[in-house]
């Protein structure tokens, strides 16, 4: 076990898997010579050389196609989007190619590719750079969608992603890169997909989130505990596959649920969670499922407006109280 930052945990997963499997290679903008925009890939070019750490032009369609094609030809590419916002340019390659080739071929071909990079909001990057769109990817059959909240998961889930024979959308949160945590050294430490983690036990309400939203929930839960309200906090870790069972079990115990994410609310992943919880646990609920999510506006630049557009722990607290009232 070592203490390291989330960003280092991502790097460790990449390093270990590249050591382990010579078919793994990386491609993306500024990942090599520049050492990575967020320094995630620092040192990897020196260590693995330019065939395995490929600096690309600013060509998101090209990057997505390069990774998808190489995966179809039997390698295990890990492509970085400098931020997930730029993946908008590659949507056709991602959705109409990577996600579908296995199905369209009747299973004749595998596509073991990982698309990764920072997502998330909160440093005044404004409208074009502040969106993660995990709901889009979760909507599209053929992608696994992974959004770790802690360093250990960042490592263990990324290793699982690289070994998975399917296209994986792996979204890091730029605002979590500096987060410290204990991370197992074991090179066989893998976190399975589709298994949510209960980050805090509680009896009065269930908070369900992923990525940075989990930290909001934990903060809110602590504050609520001081008022005697005990929240269970569930970290989904993977949106696809979704561990709905853990969620339902908890809701059947607490009878109240709040789903939390930073992304836009309208048709966001929270809508799916809300719909499913109601579908499967309607008669167990004492109140409708609450959603706490980003404001449905393109992200404004001004600090005060940005703050107002992003959910915070007080919003979570208020939502929990609504379910209790």
């Amino acid at each position: 076990m070592a203490t390291m930052r989330y960003q280092q945990a991502v790097r460790l997963a990449l390093t270990e898997e590249m050591e382990r499997d010579p078919t793994v290679f990386l491609c993306g903008e500024e990942i090599g010579q520049y050492q990575g925009t967020y320094r995630v890939t620092e040192g990897l070019l020196d260590r693995f050389g330019p065939m395995r750490v490929v600096d690309t032009p600013i060509s998101e369609i090209g990057i997505a196609g390069m990774a998808t094609g190489a995966a179809m030809a039997g390698l295990r590419p890990v492509a970085e989007f400098m931020t997930w916002s730029f993946a908008l340019e590659a949507m056709d390659q991602l959705v109409n190619h990577a996600a579908k080739i296995t199905y369209m071929s009747g299973g004749r071909i595998q596509c073991p590719v990982v698309f990764r990079g920072p997502a998330g909001v909160g440093t005044q990057l404004s409208a074009q750079h502040s969106q993660s769109l995990e709901s889009w990817y979760a909507h599209t059959p053929g992608f696994k969608v992974v959004m770790p909240a802690f360093p250990a998961d960042a490592k263990g889930l990324l290793k699982t992603a690289i070994r998975d024979p399917n296209p994986v959308v792996f979204m890091e949160h730029a605002g979590l890169y500096g987060l410290q945590g204990d991370v197992p050294d074991d090179p066989e430490f893998l976190v399975p997909f589709g298994v949510a983690a209960i980050r805090r036990e509680g009896t009065d309400a269930t908070l369900i989130s992923y990525s940075r939203g989990v930290h909001l929930c934990l903060k809110a839960a602590e504050a609520l505990a001081r008022d005697g309200i005990e929240c269970e906090v569930i970290d989904l870790r993977t949106l696809v596959p979704l561990d709905i069972e853990t969620v339902l079990q908890s809701v059947r115990k607490t009878h109240r649920a709040v789903v939390v994410h930073e992304e836009w609310k309208n048709v966001g992943f929270g809508a799916e969670l809300s719909a499913r919880i109601h579908e499967h646990a309607f008669y167990d609920l004492d109140a409708p499922v609450e959603r706490v999510a980003g404001a449905d506006v393109p992200m404004p630049y001004a600090k005060n407006l940005e703050r107002a557009a992003i959910p915070n722990d007080n919003d979570v607290i208020a939502a929990v109280k609504r379910t209790l009232s």
Binding site: S59, G65, M66, G69, Q110
Partner: protein
Amino acid sequence: MAKTTVERPAEDHIQQNELIDLYRLMLRIRRLEESVYRLFRDAKIGGYLHRYDGQEALVAGVIPLLQLPHDKVLCTYRDHGHALACGTPAREVMAELLGRATGCAGGKGGSMHLIDPPRGFLGGDGIVGGPVPIALGVGYALKYRARMLGGGNHICVCYFGDGAMNQGGVHEAFNMVGLYKLPILFILENNQYAMGTSVARSTGQPDFVLKAKAHGIDGEKIDGMNVLTVRDAAQRVIDRIRETGEAYFLEMECYRFVGHGIGDDNTKSWTTYRTEAEVNEWRKRDPILQLGNYLQDRGILDTTQMDAIDAEVRQEVADAIAFAEASPEPPLDSLYENVFS
């Protein structure tokens, strides 16, 4: 325009049996294509359906020269000929067109998504320009295998249409291929039209070879109606790509004899964009006709032998249809299979 026999390149050492094989392959493609509209009208085939009639030389002159399955082939939705040329049995092609479990994609792909990885055929693609960024990745993987994993000097052949030259992803991929120097043969199937849009009406500058060169990929334009010209150029550039590891761009001038697809299958819709006279002019350069005349002129095949080949080929297509029709639909519970591997 009026030459009706192929001119054989001087230094060509092709064997007579290879010539006959070329002829047979083109005829197999033609006869299969000729059968599909009827099957569509009988509601046995659905979706979109794009025929390769007139363009057969582009696959017959190239794909038999490859080292399949180590070399790889990618193409567009106009992919029946490519599958046959890669060795996918007509039965599996036809069963896929009919959406049967025995199809080369288990019935899940259909006409636009034929695929046969064990034979090196990585598939058709319904998105214009779509296969080109994929080819960049396949080419990268081939170079990676050669350099890092002890693989041989294998190449990727990627086909796409003149309309695809207006797709941004194609330019991104060309540039990266030029930058990384990858073993890819790009084949532009310039059949003069993208649906109803002629090349002149879709490009700001019609020299496609220049567009490839602008990204650092060398290339040339050749006559795609003459299978021996195609074969000769292909042999030369395939050797060059294997040797240098660098991509090459071959623009092949050709023509599709029928409409763009089943929605454009009669001369009435053609008249919005081309004349029957133009079609007839190009039909005189039919690659099968040209090679047939050549084989006859040289005494390699006589009419009886050619009729026999045609009968064989028609029999193969009939058999493929019978096979497909007798094949089961995919089981209903396979609906949720293959979303993930």
